[in-house]
């Protein structure tokens, strides 16, 4: 038993393990949610949330005078939810299309956040862009004590996020699928598509904030969208799509790190870039709808 704990601790102590595990778990979380976002045609919500959180950072900073900490993460997640809720509300009003609704809400919240800081915290040294810009290369530096183990804080956070997401998708798989495919029918069958969707969007913004804090914005957006699109190109069936997305995200994390080590480039960037690598193969293969002559 002691030996096992020591082995685990040795693993956790290894920076490479911490980086790879954080990458894989972030990728898996994002790919899980991203698959449903992509199927629903709401992929860009991931980008919208990652910009919208700036508003939450600004507000919590003004209220607490501090830019980092658990309260600030909550504020950011709240702003993420606000982004989602406003976008949904606007899209449902029918006065603008969904894509336009997305494009209207997050810049407004972003701009409001920047202006609040500019007006009321002019001298403050708070970098709205970087407050939530985690660096996956250094996740192993910041550790917390859990059950007698020293665990990298970000790894713990994305692990919890992953468990939440996996549980949610497992429990509400039927509802999520129905809501994505035919919300009216789902409603008629008593599947509560709105609740399933609401949960999906709420989890997306919480996961986004966790991921932004742990690994940075590039990784999250790339992990949320690209693997799911690869899955969609590879298969027309949702379970297969989900599996492919998970594998692509995990593989991109596992291979991105060695690539970054060999080339001495940004780890997060390499992982994110690799999610798109399968497209190089899949796009020519699926190019069915090309112009004749």
């Amino acid at each position: 038993m002691v030996a096992a704990i020591q082995t685990v601790q040795a693993l956790l102590d290894s920076p490479s393990f911490a980086i790879l595990a954080t990458g894989v778990l972030t990728g898996a979380s994002a790919a899980l949610l991203g698959t449903f976002l992509v199927v629903r045609g709401q992929a860009m919500l991931s980008d919208a949330i990652s910009h919208g959180v700036v508003f939450g950072v600004a507000v919590t900073f003004l209220l607490t005078g501090n830019a980092t900490g658990p309260l600030q993460l909550l504020g950011a997640a709240g702003a993420g939810l606000l982004t989602v809720a406003l976008t949904e509300w606007l899209a449902r009003s029918g006065k603008v299309k969904r894509d336009a609704a997305t494009g209207l809400v997050f810049p407004a919240l972003f701009a409001a956040g920047i202006l609040l800081l500019g007006l009321f915290a002019r001298d403050a040294h708070v970098d709205v862009h970087t407050v939530l810009l985690g660096e996956i290369g250094f996740v192993w530096l910041d550790r917390v004590q859990v059950f007698g183990l020293l665990v990298p804080r970000s790894l713990l956070v994305v692990f919890v996020a992953f468990v939440l997401n996996a549980l949610y998708v497992a429990l509400f798989y039927k509802e999520l699928t129905a809501a994505a495919f035919d919300p009216v029918l789902a409603e008629l069958q008593g599947l509560r598509p709105r609740m399933a969707t609401g949960g999906l969007l709420a989890l997306t913004s919480v996961t986004a904030v966790a991921a932004l804090d742990a690994v940075g914005v590039v990784l999250f957006v790339a992990f949320a969208i690209t693997p799911a699109v690869v899955g969609r190109l590879a298969s027309q069936r949702l379970p297969v799509m989900l599996t492919v997305a998970l594998i692509v995200a995990a593989a991109a994390a596992l291979l991105g790190y060695p690539l970054a080590v060999v080339t001495d480039l940004s780890i997060g960037g390499c992982m994110a870039l690799l999610t798109a690598a399968p497209l190089l193969v899949l796009m020519p293969l699926t190019g069915a709808r090309r112009r004749r002559a």
């Binding site: 069915a288 709808r289 004749r292």
Partner: protein, 276 residues
Amino acid sequence: MAGALVRPTLTTGGNLAAQTVGATVRYGKVSAIEDVSLEVPTGVMGAIVGPNGAGKSTLLKLLLGLQDDYDGHVYLLGEDVAQSRHRVAYVPQRSTVDWDFPADVLDVVLMGLYRGLGPLRRVGRAEKAQARAALEEVGMADFERRQIGQLSGGQQQRVFLARALVQQAELYLLDEPFAGVDAASEVALVRVLQRLNAEGVTVLAVHHDLNTLKKYFDWLALLNVRLVAQGPLASTLTAEALQAAYGGRLPSMAEVPPTEGLPRPSLGADATAGRN
């Protein structure tokens, strides 16, 4: 497909308004239409009929040159589609456009005249008069400033027909013109098409409703991926041919609603459109 090497116009002359020779379209591994040799004579009021997924819309798109990947040959009015385009008018399915688009009824009808105007010439009085005349004919004269999003399905279809009318074509190709259309509009649409046909214009429509087939059309192509039968309606619309086209799915004539699916669930319409 050796026969396809000979340009069929040489043998058939200009008597065919629309023709495909051994046309095949595949989506992935599934054939939408297979080896279809359609021959629509000039001057008919024709219908393309078949069950869901028979490839009716695909065939129409092929005729219009909207299909990128296909095998075989396509001729319209005895020429390549690119050459005969200006002699053909097309009425797409309503579900293929965004009815939220900022345009009024007159705007949409005027779009039919765009191909005649260069980039610099403005839409003038003559064009507007022409568009109004077309609207008059489809019974939409009072709606010319109405936003297209505020029209009913039947009214939208009438506007689409008016847009085709201003093109003064020799061949009219329509994709399910009566789908989701109210009875009054259907009557108005048919009247216009029959007037055109009486003047020698060829009409070819993808049609759904077997009940009205005899009433509206005089020529028929039965399609179920392959071409089952084609020819004058009276001789082509036989129980055997229908059985062959529809197989076990043949709806008994009595069961078919008089006007096919009044407001059809839009999802179904989208799904059909999305296939192409």
